[in-house]
């Protein structure tokens, strides 16, 4: 290498180092507003993410003390990322969690008790879902959203929604032809959290639950009935095998999936992809009128140095007008307080009423009594259901095995 090249390389290294040195976050002056980070999967959602950011911007514009900086973290890596950050003494100031992760974070002391910073008694919170914001009788969150599950269908393909599971299977088989699938659900390990959400619908819909509050009931007859019904649809080949949720929801938007049991956020998403789609909703066609629901609390990181500023945002969030605006963003989801949808909104999207009416019969997607161990139990159950789907054993044997592994986990 010539002297010139060495000089150039050294200069390039120095330039690189200088460039890097200029890329850190700058220190803020004392008179500047405090910036808080707010992490949520929803910020990564095409369409809904931008709308939620605009809603947050409404807060930022409303006052000059606090600025909320939205942080979108992909769904699949959300838990691992925020738990690593929080366990390391840092992390976002505000977090929108799935309930299982919320309970785990609160139980581990990673969330700040809410009553210390916010008087929620001034807000008319919806009692049912609000009850899931407590861990050991301490409030650690308020509800950001609650989303029920219902049967969404394409009215160009489905004239009348099925009234029973038998009708549902027959219709799904009849509609599966020419590149169109009768139904779709998650059925792969890499979508474990989402697959478990789908399984809850079948389990609750056949009168089962993974626990009775004190003991695991993973191999109870009702659970096996529900999961066998799930397997019946899989074996009938009416679902697009291998397609992940994002893919089959796009297929639904394109009229290539006729029916889909999914949560209240989905109709808005698929209509955003194809506003010509004729979509309607109905209660799940299962023997028992019960289904899973995603209850999503928002909590304050125990590591946050700005808990009072976080409370300013939460107070703003719970004001009625901001709750109404939030509900418009979240589609067919409920928010923390009872809101009334406008006549125009219900006329434009009649499926909203179907989802709203299901709130009373919705159960949270956690293993009651074993909330802290729900993520580990989820992994066990999904693994065994997949073993049954792949023909390694019957569903009954798979659930016996899951029960045994679950009991070993919880120490029963």
């Amino acid at each position: 290498m010539t002297h010139r090249r060495v000089t150039l390389a050294t200069a390039a290294a120095a330039a690189g180092a200088l460039a890097l040195a200029g890329c850190g976050t700058g220190a803020s002056g004392s008179d500047e507003p405090v910036t808080l980070t707010f992490a949520a999967v929803t910020f990564t959602e095409s369409g809904r993410g931008e709308a939620l950011e605009a809603w947050v911007q409404g807060f930022n514009d409303s006052q000059d003390q606090v600025v909320i900086d939205p942080v979108g973290i992909p769904f699949a890596s959300f838990s691992q990322t925020v738990f690593t950050q929080m366990s390391g003494g840092s992390g976002p100031d505000l977090l929108r969690f799935d309930q299982a992760d919320f309970v785990q974070a609160a139980s581990s002391g990673l969330l700040h008790p809410m009553d210390d910073i916010l008087d929620v008694s001034q807000f008319p919170l919806i009692e049912g879902p609000d009850g899931y914001n407590f861990v050991d009788d301490t409030r650690y969150g308020v509800m950001f959203g609650a989303s029920n599950y219902a049967l969404i269908y394409n009215t160009d393909l489905v004239e009348e929604p099925p009234q029973s599971f038998e009708e549902f299977v027959d219709l799904a088989i009849e509609l599966t032809q020419d590149g169109v699938y009768g139904h779709a659900f998650r059925h792969t390990k890499d979508e474990e959290p989402g697959m478990m959400q789908d399984l809850y619908n079948f389990v609750y819909g056949f009168g089962g639950a993974f626990s009775d509050g004190e003991n695991l009931t993973i191999n109870s007859p009702e659970v096996i009935d529900g999961l066998s019904a799930y397997q019946e649809l899989y074996d009938a080949e009416v679902v697009p095998r291998g397609a992940d949720a994002a893919t089959y929801r796009r297929m639904f938007a394109e009229g290539l999936v006729a029916m889909n049991i999914d949560n209240g956020g989905v109709p808005g998403i698929v209509l955003g992809q194809n506003d010509d789609l004729n979509l309607a909703a109905a209660p799940n066609p299962f023997p028992v009128a019960s289904q899973g629901g995603i209850i999503v609390p928002i909590g304050v990181n125990a590591n946050s140095e700005h808990t009072e500023e976080a409370a300013i945002f939460l107070d703003w969030m719970l004001q009625e007008e901001n709750q109404v605006a939030l509900q418009e963003v979240m589609g067919a989801e409920s928010v923390a307080i009872e809101t009334t949808r406008s006549e125009e909104a219900l006329a434009a999207a009649p499926y909203l009423q179907v989802f709203d009416d299901l709130t009373d019969s919705t159960q949270p997607q956690i293993v009651e009594g074993f909330e802290e161990q729900t993520p580990e139990l989820r992994s066990i159950i999904v693994d065994q259901v997949l073993a049954a789907l792949h023909g390694e054993m019957s569903m009954e044997e798979a659930m016996d095995r899951a029960q045994e592994l679950g009991e070993n986990l919880v120490g029963d």
Partner: protein, 272 residues
């Protein structure tokens, strides 16, 4: 042309096709409508009327993500080479106590997955104020790629006859001069190869970047690309368009470096 040559050309074209087709398909998918994505016989050629996906991506945060990735990758490349060259030289030319343990220690670092180290490293980085900065990512990426680079360069330096260094020393060259003026030019092909390894390693790193960066303005492209994968939906065409943009700079860097690798490999192969 004889049949044998035809067959060889066909074989080369087939291998080239297999290597390039995924990139081509990524490009075609980025310029395909939703409905065509799910047809049983999707279009083989891109629809150039759909280039709006690219314009939308370029007006968003993608250029910033790519710049961040470039700074992280280039920084990792420079720091790694700056540390690895003397490190490899020391391992190759000097005998010292604990040398074997040091080599084993370097190997051990390669056996630990990122996901295992991310929690303790997060705590250490927080203590030293290295979170939410590109410097921090350069450091952690350097730490992970340095052992591989050191081993490659040590092997290259081992192959240089000591007589050349002795001759330089007789001519009055100092130890640092021997390293920079004798050894570095002679291991240029290995330097180019390891630069590519270090650059790609940092360019593609995801776990640390996702965990250590909170500020969206500092996210690299690997994290930005994943941020399109939502809970309820994923805009496939946008993901593919950004993936194309994410791939091209890395390919360009490889092509530039590859010239030096080939030049260096052939240099000195013929006496005369």
């Amino acid at each position: 042309m004889p049949w044998g040559r035809y067959l060889r050309v066909l074989a080369v074209l087939a291998v080239l096709g297999i290597a390039v087709f995924p990139l081509y398909w990524m490009f075609v998918t980025s310029l395909t409508t939703d409905r065509e994505l799910f047809t049983s016989s999707p279009r083989l050629f891109p629809d150039f009327s759909l280039t709006g996906t690219y314009s939308e991506a370029l007006t968003g945060p993608v250029p910033r993500w790519l710049l961040n990735s470039f700074l992280i990758a280039a920084g990792t490349c420079l720091v790694t080479l700056a540390l690895a060259i003397p490190f490899a030289y020391g391992l190759s030319r000097f005998r010292f106590r604990g040398k074997v343990a040091l080599v084993i220690g370097l190997f051990v670092t390669q056996m630990l997955p990122e996901s295992l180290l991310v929690v303790p490293l997060f705590a250490i980085f927080r203590t030293f104020g290295l979170l939410d900065s590109l410097h921090g990512l350069v450091l952690v990426d350097t730490a992970f790629v340095l052992p591989i680079v050191v081993f490659v360069l040590k092997g290259a330096i081992d192959g240089i006859p000591r007589e050349i260094e002795e001759a330089a020393r007789v001519d009055g060259c100092r130890p640092l001069g021997i390293l920079t003026r004798i050894n570095v030019p002679l291991i240029a092909p290995s330097l180019a190869a390891t630069a590519v390894i270090a650059f790609f390693s940092a360019w593609n790193e995801y776990v640390f970047a996702l965990t250590f960066i909170f500020d969206r303005g500092l996210q690299p492209a690997s994290v930005g690309l994943a941020s399109f994968i939502g809970e309820l939906s994923t805009p496939t065409q946008t993901v593919m368009a950004v993936a194309v943009m994410y791939t091209l700079p890395a390919v360009a860097f490889y092509l530039i470096a590859q010239r030096y690798i080939v030049t260096g490999m052939t240099a000195g192969s013929v006496k005369g």
